[in-house]
Amino acid sequence: MGRKQGNMTMAMASEAPKDGFRLSMLIYDTRFRSFTIQVIVLLLVLLGIGWLVDNTIANLAAKDKDINFGFLWNRAGYDIEQQLIPYTNDSTHGRAAIIGLLNTLVVAFWGCIFATVIGVFVGVLRLSKNWLVGRLMTVYVEAFRNVPLLLWIIVVFVVTSETAPQPKDFKVTAEMVQTGAEPAAQKILFNTIAITNRGWNIPGPLFERPLPTVHLGSVPLNLTFLAIIAAVVGSFVANRRVLRHARLVQEDTGIRPVTWWKSLLILIAPIVILLVALGFHLDIPAFPADENGVSKGFNFQGGILVQHSFSALLIALSLYTGAFIAEAVRAGVMAISRGQTEAAYALGLRPGRTMNLIILPQALRVIIPPLISQYLNLTKNTSLGIAVSYLDLRGTLGGITLNQTGRELECMLLMMLTYLIISLIISSLMNAFNSAVKLKER
């Protein structure tokens, strides 16, 4: 077939050139060629998509299945250990998926923050003149970069759950009450936080006079929470106004008015007043005890339990990504010419301030692009929570829900779409930040 066509076009090409349009121009004329190619590619892509859709329909028909997202409104029937919004096993699969999504986001959010902090510290320390510190940091970076993340997650998880004491070690037995002995393990930080091998029991907020919860349609709105957020945001805005005023005064008169006490007052007073008004106090985790002070039960009551599946995933992700960020930071710092440091020294800046005021701000521009991709990697890597059975989006929607309902196609599509949207949001945010701090070249 190819030969025949070849001959045909050959014959056409050998004819004397005529004005007007010839078929061969579609291939040889650069004006039309890209158009031809695009049309062909479009056709191929449409064909390919059509083929896939056709196969999918045929396969679904063969399996007697359909595409139906109705299962999202059915009862889930399973429990999730970490819930940021209320959820019971009577909630729907859709709500379970949202719980999972929130769990993914919370790990990703804190992970990005911790990884950045670790990365900047380690990256700077690797350049330290201290031989031992430099070597240790190199060992850390290389160890984390060259061993699969999956292994690190497992290792951190096992270390935390094997080394911390069991909840029962905190218990006061009748024998201890008699002899006055102390339990084997104690809470830390003024007796407020208990680290057990199940997780971190941290104090939770409690309000004696909470504001009511308002229902907007089916969405519950916690007014207490909203009021606190409003207070914090409001005081920040007010503080900015004060600072701007101070700057204007400074520009006018050359003397900057003393503002620190105003700032402090504006930042702290409203929130404190609000908290007092709401009757805020900390709910400190403790074992329930009978009248003799003998503990009962299996676990701490009260407060918030941060499970080790969360903390281990967070720590491992932060350390792993931190190692990569450290490399990016080191590269960024080394990209700044030595003259900058020398100039800073000449101005009489100490090494610490040189780093903070001169080097890091400039290095930031080099660091940010790799930082974006590390944030994206971290967010995607939260899906490895599967190794410690952290119930994130993959664990709920793409795990238990998928498994219990048998709706692979719907669950997987929904899950991939969600991850895609998260990634796109992060990269667009970071890209906006990047173009904001980018060196404006003219």
């Binding site: 045929a58 240790l136 994206l376």
Partner: protein, 477 residues
């Protein structure tokens, strides 16, 4: 010192032997002062670091030192190690081959080893083009291969044959390193045949398809140009693979020489990690190049499609791609088609890697000065000629470190395949080992073993890529 001269009449006629520097300015103390205790912050850091190292050693060292190497079960290990406990390395001694080769037949271990060794030979022209370094590398690999085969108690004929083969390759690389390109081109087929076995005619028949493609291309290209030539050649090859090859393999399939066939479900451990990683990276290179070019193309549709594909793949976690391979691919393929899970995983991992490779190569393309493109245009080269002769050789060279680090990432991520039921070294094989009643309850030892191997491989590769980066940098300045 100068004051003493004024007070006395004595004038020294010969130079004093130079004094030793003060004790704080020499030897180990100087080094300590400068490197460990310069300033209070540094000292504090040093002390904290020392403390960390000490605590780590204190908690782990006895366990390491008290390791048990000879035992047949975890229970026996516990008895031998006694109350203070110790590592039970016996499990590694008993099951190491499963961590490396999975369930690959034990008498055929020479095949993956040879395939692995040949990989270095195949890579030599790419990585050390025309340098004696390549020959040295091949020599080292040859010695190691023969040694490991001898240690594995393979029969002598195999060892001798392989030794001769490696010696020949070494000689070739020493005398005419450029000839090794043929090894590179043939390698995929050789490796496929070595690993999966079966009749040699199957890969040969597949290879013939490329012969068809090149032939058709040669015939058509002068008349219709590169694009049509490639397209028609590709179609002809596909036609051959789909309809003709089956007849050829059917006819020749039972003829010798052949190797005992090995099913892909017998692949496991690091063998599986390498098969997935290397295949995916190799296959993703051409796709990645096309995607990168597509992303920089002027054609709106092609650009949109490339960007869409790259961003989609980079936006979802690998694990969802693996679940797609395992759960969803069956929906997208014609009803009743069914092939190997490993192959499906390789396809999806390839697509995944292609998006990352595309970004790496796009970086390489962007790093080329505009003048290169303009020079190519000025020479009157068309798009593909310019890409082939001017742009790609330079862009790919710049991209090699990026490609290596993509490979490292991918190689580490092959551990995720355990979540779809494949035998990766980290969790897959470990789970099987733990299911054995003798080793049920073993925890750290397999992880340490696998982690160390991963570290050695990835660290080696990253150091190599750093070395390469250094070398390439000087080329450009």
């Amino acid at each position: 010192m100068s004051d003493t001269r004024a007070e006395t009449a004595f004038i020294r006629t010969e130079m004093l032997a130079p004094e030793l520097p003060p004790v704080t300015e020499r030897g180990i103390i100087k080094w300590l002062r400068e490197n460990l205790f310069a300033g209070w912050l540094n000292s504090a850091l040093t002390i904290v670091s020392l403390l960390v190292v000490f605590l780590l050693l204190k908690s782990a060292l006895p366990w390491w030192l008290n390791g048990v190497w000879n035992a047949t079960s975890l229970g026996e290990c516990r008895t031998i190690a006694g109350p203070e406990g110790g590592a039970c390395w016996a499990v590694i001694k008993a099951r190491w081959h499963q961590y490396i080769f999975g369930f690959y037949p034990q008498d055929a271990y020479w095949r993956p080893i040879l395939a692995f060794a040949l990989m270095f030979v195949a890579l030599a022209p790419v990585l050390y083009y025309g340098l004696r370094n390549g020959a040295k590398l091949i020599g080292t690999v040859a010695v190691l291969t023969v040694l490991s085969l001898a240690l594995l108690d393979h029969d002598v004929t195999h060892v001798v044959l392989i030794a001769v083969l490696m010696a020949v390759l070494f000689a070739v690389s020493w005398i005419a390193p450029k000839r090794l390109v043929y090894v590179t081109l043939l390698y995929p087929f050789v490796a496929f045949w070595l690993l999966w076995g079966g009749s040699v005619w199957k890969p040969v028949a597949t290879l013939l398809g490329f012969g068809v493609m090149v032939l058709v291309y040669r015939l058509i290209q002068p008349r219709l140009g590169v694009i049509m030539g490639t397209a028609i050649g590709f179609l002809a090859a596909c036609f051959y693979w789909l309809f003709v090859q089956g007849i050829i393999t059917g006819a020749l399939g039972s003829l010798p020489p052949g190797l005992a066939g090995v099913n892909s479900d017998q692949f496991g451990g690091f063998l599986l990690a390498f098969v997935i990683g290397v295949t995916a990276i190799t296959c993703s290179l051409p796709i990645g190049i096309l995607l990168a070019l597509g992303r920089r193309s002027d054609m709106v549709l092609i650009k949109t499609l490339s960007v869409g594909f790259i961003e989609f793949i980079r936006g979802v976690p690998l694990i969802t791609m693996l679940f797609t391979a395992s759960l969803l691919l069956q929906y997208f393929l014609p009803p009743q088609t069914n092939f190997d899970l490993i192959l499906r995983v390789v396809i999806l991992v390839t697509l995944f890697a292609a998006a990352y490779i595309a970004e790496v190569i796009r970086g390489g393309l962007a790093a080329l000065p505009r003048g290169q493109y303009e020079a190519a245009d000025a020479l009157g080269l068309d798009y593909w000629q310019a890409q082939r002769l001017i742009i790609m050789p330079q862009a790919l060279k710049i991209s090699i470190p990026g490609i290596v680090s993509t490979f490292i990432g991918l190689f580490k991520d092959t551990t995720l395949v355990s979540f779809v039921g494949l035998l990766d070294p980290l969790r897959g094989v470990t789970q099987i080992v733990r299911a054995d009643i003798n080793w049920k309850g073993i925890y750290w030892e397999p992880y340490i073993f696998v982690g160390v191997i991963f570290f050695l491989i990835c660290f080696g590769m990253s150091r190599y890529s750093m070395y390469l980066e250094q070398k390439l940098k000087t080329d450009h300045r």
